[in-house]
Symmetry: C2
DNA sequence: AGTAAATATCGACTTTTCTCGATTTATCGA
DNA sequence: TCGATAAATCGAGAAAAGTCGATATTTACT
């Protein structure tokens, strides 16, 4: 994790900020599938799949897919592929590292 | 201080990030005037004046002036006007508040 | 092999940001 | 009051980001 322009560019968009927040409490935020399904995805698959985030965001699939990889590229998200699905989750270690860096290095 | 798109947009530019860093240790970073002058500006005037930041940045005066007011608008900088000069300094309280918010609310 | 589904990538157009030079505003000193 | 200086604001053209629909890739299931 490091403080640079790319990182803050990723955060400089309301939808990408929203995605980070949704993934903080997905059982509450992701409503296109049941709460049980969300819990299963998070614990067994390691995240939320793209289509459920697309539904929540209300933007084109291509746009959301790009946003997710942008957030992964700068270390704020991580993902696991299981078959056809890619599951995205927050990279909590990097989010905490970022907070520390802002406190000390910004 | 609050986490929003505007704040991160302000941080999503290398020159604006640089300005924040320069103002962290201006005696070392600001070299268009003497070290004693920098110390005097910081302690007696409450910051570094625009023209010295313009020289350091190497961009047009209008651009840097805009950047400084952008950074002030989102709470990362504060300023004092003394006569013809406006002196900018970091808003350390808000920077620490931001770090805390990222650790807890992002 | 062939089809279908989920995601990723591409190309194009729109919107926003960057950046400048010119101008305006504010303040000082003669 | 006039001229000079510092900073802020304005308008315009260039560069970057946002966004979409179409297409490609990957994987699963017959």
């Amino acid at each position: 994790m490091e403080i640079n322009e790319k990182l803050f560019k990723a955060l400089a968009n309301q939808t990408r900020l929203d995605i980070l927040q949704w993934l903080k409490d997905p059982e509450k935020e992701i409503t296109s599938v049941s709460c049980e399904t969300v819990r299963y995805m998070m614990t067994e698959k390691g995240g939320i799949c793209v289509q459920d985030i697309v539904k929540k965001a209300g933007l084109a699939q291509s746009t959301v897919s790009k946003y997710l990889s942008d957030l992964q590229d700068c270390g704020l998200l991580e993902s696991e592929r299981h078959g056809k699905w890619t599951y995205y989750r927050r990279n909590e270690a990097n989010l905490q590292a970022l907070a520390k860096l802002i406190a000390t290095a910004l």
